[in-house]
């Protein structure tokens, strides 16, 4: 990785606007405007590229510690950089679970050592994700990792009293509980979205109501105790309506949607290829449309990938025995361009809000999601909107290849990513 060099990014369209030059020095944006020049600066030609604030993903699984065969903090953060991200928040369902100060500090340190993006651990809400006793939330908050988001993601905090207590407790350190909304009893033996396709395929159904019931309950709880609530990977039209209603009542709730829920539908399960098996499951075209509209109108606040690497053998098997989840860091921006920008639902300023500014705010990630103006940290993503690629699973930077987009033609390509003035990706290659 390069030493602190001065970079002059030439002709980039900031948030898709008019071309301008960006001078990056000492980790910050030193100057911004037309026709800049700087002695000794390394020139980065960016004519035609869109400049975005470094992307922020508040929901990834980097599998370390425990499943280093699928991903490590180093490999996952390289994949993140490749996707244009400068900060990621890692979920707690590692082995051991990130439910103590020791584990979150380990992950945080691994991220610092790798240096490709800021890796902010999310702490578990309950001990061992067991859903029975609170983990030491305060110790994680006070640790070097300064945890502010807490989630049992992969599992739902289904006990209403425990959820209430967690919501209340994290207020002491400006924390937020990120809920994986899945009523466990309603989703026993669940394999895919419950509906016409699951009935035909004979695969156990994961009904929309199992997500919506928990979201409704938790919005009411958060409102009652005056806490901050975040909803992970919203996947149904009904969830959107409930969140819209909760926000209209003044509930302090935020929500994320994954790129795959913005594009893919449950009909893909017809192949019985578990590359499409994910939790929450792919839903219907009607849900996809509602999610896109909700992301556009702000009901859903941000995009998060739920990047979930798995080794080949976990997917090359019968559907019921396969692992749930798909990788997403390296394709996220392309999918968002395809689903939101090319459809006219969002402009690049809107994308910057939903993939950088807002998630940074939800995760309390200082120095990220800042506007591209003079004096701000030089966290910058340069993106070629005109490029096109056929997704090749084998060429992923991630250690795993379980991408549902393999073989699909997607727009766009990340040309460069700068983390505090240092390029982690240049010319489309990890540095």
């Amino acid at each position: 990785m390069s030493q602190t060099t001065t970079y002059l990014i030439r002709g980039a369209r900031v948030l898709g606007g008019e071309p301008a030059d960006i001078l990056v020095r000492d980790g910050i944006i030193a100057d911004l405007g037309p026709d800049l020049s700087a002695e000794g600066a390394e020139i980065v030609e960016a004519a035609g590229l869109v400049a975005l604030p470094g992307l922020v993903d508040i929901h990834v699984h980097l599998r370390e510690p425990g499943r280093e065969d699928a991903e490590t903090v180093a490999s996952g953060s390289r994949a993140a950089a490749m996707g244009g991200f400068t900060a990621v928040c890692t979920m707690a369902n590692t082995d051991p679970v990130a439910d103590t100060a020791g584990v979150v500090e380990q992950v945080w340190r691994l991220g610092r050592e790798a240096g490709y993006c800021d890796v902010q651990p999310i702490g578990a809400v309950t001990k061992g994700l067991g859903g029975e006793r609170l983990a030491e939330l305060g110790a994680m908050a006070d640790s070097a990792a300064r945890v502010r988001m807490f989630s049992d993601d992969g599992m739902c905090v289904s006990d209403a009293l425990l959820m209430r207590r967690a919501l209340e407790y994290v207020k002491a350190f400006d924390g937020v509980v990120a809920q994986h909304a899945q009523e466990p009893r309603l989703t026993e033996h669940a394999q895919m979205n419950e509906g016409e396709v699951s009935d035909r395929l004979g695969l156990g159904g994961w009904p929309a109501v199992a997500e919506e019931a928990i979201i409704a309950r938790d919005c009411l709880l958060a409102e009652h105790v005056g806490s901050r609530l975040h909803i992970c990977h919203v996947s149904t039209k009904g969830s959107v309506q409930i969140i819209r209603w909760a926000k209209s009542r003044g509930c302090d709730v935020t929500a994320e949607v994954t790129p795959h829920h913005l594009l893919l539908t449950d009909e893909l399960a017809e192949s019985y290829d578990p590359i499409y098996k994910v939790n929450p499951p792919l839903r219907t075209a009607e849900d996809v449309q509602a999610l896109r509209e909700a992301l556009a109108d702000g009901t859903i606040d941000c995009v998060a990938t739920d990047h979930a690497p798995h080794p080949v053998e976990a997917k090359e098997t019968e559907w019921a025995n396969a692992a749930m989840g798909m990788i997403g860091l390296e394709t996220a921006l392309s999918v968002v361009q395809h689903a939101m920008v090319d459809t006219g639902l969002l402009d690049w300023a809107g994308v910057a809000e939903r993939m950088s500014a807002i998630p940074a705010r939800i995760g309390r990630l200082a120095g990220h999601g800042r506007p591209l103006v003079i004096g701000e940290p030089a966290n910058i993503t340069l993106y070629d909107t005109a490029a096109e690629r056929v997704v090749d699973a084998a060429s992923m930077v991630s250690k795993s290849a379980n991408t549902p987009y393999r073989g699909m033609r997607l727009p766009g390509r990340v040309a460069a990513t700068f983390l505090r003035g240092i390029p982690t990706v240049l010319d489309g290659k990890v540095q």
């Binding site: 394999q191 419950e194 509906g195 016409e196 009935d199 035909r200 395929l201 004979g202 695969l203 159904g205 009904p207 192949s271 019985y272 290829d273 053998e313 090359e316 098997t317 019968e318 559907w319 019921a320 025995n321």
Partner: protein, 308 residues
């Protein structure tokens, strides 16, 4: 068609060809020497991940009557119990040169997955709660033999539709063949989207019986009551069991079918199961003929096979 994975993949012509071929091949079963040379030199693997003596023996008998070499591979005590994946098992069978693989598996879609990994024909002998196409074919064959036709036939399928691969295959095949199907079950044992299926649905067995030419009873596991699908086995039997009184509501010509294994006293009473209007034993006999027909048509016993 290279494989038989779903009853829904069969066109009317293809399904009729299977039934007509089965009819011809049935005569072999009546001879003292029950053997045809048709599939000599062909290898059929019975790959059974679930215990199913009935279906495995039926396929084995069918293949042997056609002179195929049969290899039985059961998951228990095999490489599978040592943790071998379906894909690796498939590659092993492929390397051994299996011309056809008959697979029974507890996971829906397993037959479809297998067909991606082997060159030979894959016959779905039951995959999870998805389909069991040869069962539907033998059921249709039995109905045609008994009733003389399938077009316009009124068929009630009663029981645990939600978890039944037999019901799914029968609904698809019987529609193709022109029969009218009514599914009868408590609402808890019907798929949520059943209203979109090509059949009628009723919660009331007594209302359906007088209008039925064929009643197919499905096995209902008493353990389902533990997941609150119904309150008790007794209540299930009272509302949906076929006993002597209900049997009397059927038209004179109507027959009773069951794919087996049946639970006497649960979904069907002994007197109904043993009645001359029950086809349960015939279904077993017909199963061999139908499976012979499918093997014959898929493994190139004829020039064209089934369809393309």
């Amino acid at each position: 068609m290279r494989h038989l994975l779903s009853a829904g993949d069969l066109s009317l012509d293809e399904a009729t060809l299977v039934l007509d071929t089965a009819k011809e091949l049935a005569q072999v079963g009546g001879r003292s020497v029950k053997k045809l040379p048709t599939l000599r030199g062909r290898t059929v693997v019975n790959l059974f991940y679930e215990d199913s003596t009935r279906t495995r023996i039926s396929f084995e008998a069918a293949a042997k009557r056609m002179s195929a070499d049969v290899i039985n591979f059961s998951a228990k005590g095999s490489s599978v119990s040592k943790g071998e994946s379906l894909k690796d098992t498939a590659l092993t069978l492929q390397a051994m040169g299996a011309d056809g693989v008959v697979i029974r598996h507890g996971a829906s879609g397993a037959a479809r997955r297998l067909s991606n990994w082997v060159d030979g024909a894959v016959l779905n002998a039951g995959d999870g709660t998805h389909e069991h196409p040869t069962q539907a074919l033998l059921d249709a064959y039995t109905m045609r033999e008994r009733m003389g036709r399938l077009d316009g036939l009124r068929v009630a399928i009663v029981g645990d539709i939600l978890h039944s691969r037999v019901a799914r295959s029968n609904v698809l095949l019987l529609r193709t063949l022109g029969a009218h199907v009514t599914l009868v079950a408590p609402p808890t044992l019907l798929p949520v989207s059943v209203a979109g299926w090509p059949c009628e649905v009723s919660y009331d067995l007594d209302e359906v019986l007088p209008k039925s030419d064929v009643v197919m009873m499905l096995r209902v596991q008493a353990e389902r009551m533990n997941d609150a699908f119904f309150p008790s086995a007794r209540e299930y039997t009272r509302r949906y069991g076929l006993d002597g009184d209900r049997f009397a509501q059927l038209p004179e010509h109507a027959v009773v079918m069951h794919p087996g294994p049946m639970i006497r006293g649960m979904e069907i009473s002994a007197e109904v199961a043993d009645s001359p209007r029950s086809t349960i034993v015939e279904q077993v006999t017909n199963g061999v003929s139908v499976r012979m027909a499918v093997l014959y048509l898929l493994l190139g016993g004829s020039e064209s096979g089934i369809g393309n």
